[in-house]
């Protein structure tokens, strides 16, 4: 298969970026999207052109590093992450547009690489249970019904890629934050800090420049881990609960 690529190139955070055109030739349908880019990059390097920089590591949909907007949608709007997208899903000969995740809270560092440390700072504000090493009781002393544990796991499955933010018109981080808040609010371990956590995480989200949620729910549609927007509703309830407390 062959493709025409339009790729966002930007030398560094300060530079102005622009779309550049490249050819991807002799691509095999079993290749992942990133393997296709690897092939293009090997080619570019041989021609003396700086390869296209993008974040990636695990290449199997779990680390949350890969973060491309493909044809206007984070992770191409397909099942899974960018690294899981396979080339057989594209029409031979088609043109593919590749851009970075864009959001005020995710400034571009170079090409398709963005700075997502804002996500870490939201976690620092309250995305944890304050327990120190060695203080734990026997794990079976905390009984958690299977369905509660499963629901908490549904929320905990978030990989922190930021696709929800990139998909949202308001660049809101609600789905990501809601997933963490809900996971811990569902579990007995998270109760002691329940109100404090949601207040602090929401406050930090605002400081980082994430937008508000106005219920477009584009986030859920692109989430590679199918995190449900019901967690946003849950977080709103948690937030209200914390306000009245």
């Amino acid at each position: 298969m062959n493709f025409k690529l339009h790729v966002w190139r930007q030398k560094n955070a300060a530079a102005k970026g622009r779309m550049e055109q490249y050819e991807a030739r002799d691509i095999n349908g079993d290749m992942s999207f990133l393997e296709m880019l690897d092939v293009v990059n090997e080619d570019l390097v041989e021609k003396g052109i700086d390869p296209i920089h993008f974040d990636h590591d695990c290449r199997e949909g779990i680390c949350g590093a890969c973060s491309l907007v493909i044809n206007g949608l984070p992770h191409g709007g397909m099942t899974g992450t960018t690294c899981e997208v396979r080339m057989r899903l594209f029409k031979d000969g088609s043109t593919i547009y590749i851009e970075p995740f864009r959001a005020k809270a995710f400034p571009v560092i170079k090409d398709l690489t963005v700075d997502r440390t804002s996500i870490d700072r939201v976690m620092q504000a309250g995305g944890f249970v304050s327990t120190h090493t060695g203080a734990a009781t026997d794990a079976n002393a905390i009984l958690i019904p299977k369905d509660k544990a499963e629901e908490a796991m549904d929320a905990a499955a978030c990989i922190g890629c930021g696709a929800c933010v990139a998909a949202c018109k308001n660049a809101s981080g609600m789905l990501f934050v809601a997933a963490k808040v809900s996971q811990l609010a569902l579990l007995p371990q998270g109760q002691a800090e329940r109100e404090r956590r949601v207040n602090k995480m929401v406050a930090q989200m605002d400081i980082e420049g994430f937008g508000n949620c106005t219920n477009y729910f584009e986030c859920e549609a692109v989430c590679p881990k199918d995190i449900s927007v019901k967690f946003i509703a849950k977080m709103n309830r948690e937030y209200m609960r914390a306000l009245v407390k």
């Binding site: 560094n12 095999n28 349908g29 079993d30 393997e35 690897d38 092939v39 090997e42 390097v45 041989e46 003396g48 700086d50 390869p51 920089h53 990636h56 590591d57 695990c58 290449r59 199997e60 779990i62 680390c63 949350g64 590093a65 099942t79 899974g80 899981e84 396979r86 560092i109 170079k110 690489t113 700075d115 870490d120 976690m123 620092q124 995305g127 944890f128 249970v129 304050s130 327990t131 090493t133 060695g134 203080a135 734990a136 009781t137 794990a139 079976n140 905390i142 009984l143 019904p145 299977k146 544990a149 908490a152 796991m153 905990a156 499955a157 990989i159 922190g160 996971q183 579990l187 371990q189």
Partner: protein
């Protein structure tokens, strides 16, 4: 050099407690005077950094990903072991210890392995307290499964994402400490060298991967938690950034590298199909609980799997190992797959693949049960291979997965360089020649939460707080050396990409130092590797400049280290004239093809000391003392 393992005296069961009591404690008021650098924030590094900060030490943590949450540990699927005996099936600390030491083919240090089993239960408690959503039973207690051939159910899990959930637990503890100002976190920062002052590790030199800036950090101790070197084979199940650089640079500064040839090849990965591939995806080992592994009985079989009648199939694991069957340990399963393929009976386009067939299980249990158990994995397989494993058997083949070898450490997890501690997959200590499934997560967290935080305090008190400044000449020299090396890479101005060299190195290693090794192959590899290295330094093409985000520089620098490291790997494999665990020397096998260990000559840890690039490193031996267990022949028949 005399290697002192510092294993405490006394009965095995009491060593750790006794040692904990005998170690010196840092006065609480003094803790903030001590500082530690933790390189790596996987399970080992994140848990260590958070725990050290909780104790009151000043901590700086580093990782090369854009966030500490993305370390390679995140991809672990199957689970984590602990000797809780929640299932009442006869498990105990001693049994977990014994299984681990036997699984490692009696090439690990008894006291370390015992301690690992001993603290395993605390890990589960700790992670549960953090809110890790482990799988539960209806009654609310924790669920377990049997994993990796264990005969008790001691594996705890969170769906197929155990590593992710454990790492996010450790990461949340770490983020809490960052928020409290007790840890300073440096993501996108790659360690380039360790700095020694008066023989002690007192700092590191790093490269900022966004700006290219080279800078130094000083502390009272340095902890390497930088993971394994499985990508020396190029193709592996590991994250693409995994590398040997941190450990190798420490080796060049005098740290001993132990058992580098002990590497695990995982039996159930998606086979290699094309040259474009840079990683092989692991299909969880749990699939072997219900899948049956087979190849055609005849060579060069052309028929589709469904067309091959039952009596023309060879379920080779069931045939050779009737009692363990498809659950035979990883090394044995991997080697058997290779044998079948070398014999011309492999399947798939490359003919290096075997079938993992679920049709019997589907007939017996129904498709729904199989879907409930492995639905995610089946989807993942279909996405990658465009084949539906409910209908067509999966194709799998072994791939490089884990490295038991690593920097030599004593019982305190300190290398032979005082102050330089090594934890997690980066050290060599607990798994011997082969690691059991679900034991790496356990070891990373044991080291980080429950061992290092104690032992490092002892080192601190013995040495006192030094408050070292990075203005010292040792730092200037190291920075200069790092800068020069990067400049040298950029100046080669050759034609071939760093990746193309990595691929070629991987091929040599896979063919000559992979699942089976022999003297002839290893000697050839030892000729080919230096030649490839020379070619690299004459013809590598590293574009761009040093003072920007530059993936060419990052990759080239890592490949350059692999090109040196591969040589000690092969030397180690050549030196060890026996077959043990994952190290299979073809010369040392029984008539049936089983490994022949040589305890008289090789019951030692091989620890290599750097003597210059291209020079033969010096071998130091730590004799393994077994006080409690009897060395037995591993048999899974």
């Amino acid at each position: 050099m005399k290697l002192d393992s510092k294993v405490p005296s006394g009965p095995l069961e009491q060593k750790w407690q006794k040692h904990q009591f005998e170690m010196k404690l840092v006065n609480p008021a003094n803790k903030r005077k001590y500082s530690a650098i933790v390189v790596g924030t996987g399970l080992a590094g994140a848990s260590a950094a958070a725990s050290l900060a909780e104790l009151g030490y000043e901590v700086k943590a580093f990782c090369f990903q854009d966030s500490s949450r993305r370390a390679h540990s995140i991809s672990a699927q199957g689970g984590i072991n602990a000797a809780k005996n929640y299932q009442n099936d006869g498990d105990s600390v001693y049994r977990l210890f014994y299984d681990t030491i036997k699984g490692g083919d009696f090439r690990s240090r008894e006291a370390n392995t015992y301690r690992l089993a001993e603290v395993s239960n605390n890990i589960i408690d700790q992670c549960a307290a953090q809110g890790v959503p482990f799988a539960r039973e209806y009654g609310g207690t924790l669920a377990n499964r049997s994993f990796g051939g264990a005969q008790v159910s001691r594996t705890f899990y969170a769906r197929g994402q155990t590593g992710q959930q454990l790492l996010l637990g450790a990461y949340s503890a770490l983020m809490r400490q960052v928020g409290l100002g007790k840890v300073k976190m440096y993501p996108r920062t790659e360690m380039q060298d360790v700095v020694l002052i008066d023989g002690h590790a007192k700092g590191i030199v790093v490269r900022d991967m966004v700006t290219g800036e080279i800078s130094s950090h000083a502390a009272d101790a340095v902890v390497l938690a930088t993971g394994g070197y499985g990508r020396v084979f190029y193709l592996s199940t590991m994250g693409l950034g995994c590398n040997v650089t941190a450990a190798y640079r420490a080796y060049k500064k005098g740290a001993l590298f132990a058992n580098p040839c002990f590497t695990q090849i995982h039996p159930t990965c998606i086979p290699h199909t094309g040259d474009y591939q840079c990683k092989l995806t692991l299909m969880s080992e749990s699939l072997r609980n219900d899948g049956r592994i087979w190849v055609p009985g005849a060579k060069d079989e052309q028929r589709a799997p469904g067309q091959i009648p039952e009596n023309e199939r060879d379920y080779y694991l069931e045939r050779k190992y009737p009692s363990f069957g498809n659950l035979a340990p990883r090394d044995i399963s991997s080697r058997s797959a290779k044998e079948a393929c070398d014999d011309g009976r492999g399947i798939g386009p490359s003919r290096y693949g075997v079938y993992l067939d679920f049709s019997d299980a589907i007939n017996r249990l129904g498709k729904d049960v199989i879907k409930e158990r492995y639905g995610n994995l089946f989807e993942m397989y279909e996405l990658i291979n465009d084949e539906n494993p409910y209908e067509v058997p999966m194709r799998i083949y072994p791939a490089s997965h884990y490295t038991m070898g690593g920097l030599w450490v004593d019982y305190n997890l300190m290398s032979n360089i005082p102050g330089l501690h090594v934890i997690g997959e980066a050290n060599f200590s607990d798994h011997g020649a082969n690691r059991l499934g679900a034991s790496a997560l356990m070891q990373g967290l044991a080291d980080g939460y429950f061992v290092l935080p104690y032992t490092i305090g002892d080192y601190f008190v013995r040495e006192g707080a030094k408050n070292i400044s990075t203005d010292r000449p040792e730092f200037r020299e190291a920075e200069e050396a790092v800068t020069m090396r990067i400049k040298k890479l950029l100046d080669v101005g050759g034609k071939q990409t760093p990746d193309s060299f990595h691929k070629r190195l991987g091929q040599i290693m896979w063919e000559k130092a992979g699942m089976a090794r022999n003297e002839k192959g290893l000697k050839e590899a030892l000729q080919e590797i230096p030649a490839l290295r020379e070619e690299f330094w004459n013809d590598v093409n590293v574009l761009g400049s040093a003072d920007e985000m530059n993936m060419n520089v990052e990759r080239a620098a890592r490949v350059a280290d692999f090109l040196e490291f591969a040589e000690i790997f092969c030397l180690d494999a050549l030196d060890r004239e026996e077959s043990c665990g994952a190290h299979f020397r073809e010369e040392y096998q029984t008539e049936e093809g089983e490994a022949v260990r040589n305890d008289k000559k090789y019951a030692y840890v091989a620890a290599w000391e750097h003597k210059g690039v291209g020079q033969k490193p010096e071998l130091h031996k730590e004799d393994l003392q077994f006080e409690s267990v009897q060395l037995a022949t591993r048999s899974y028949k």
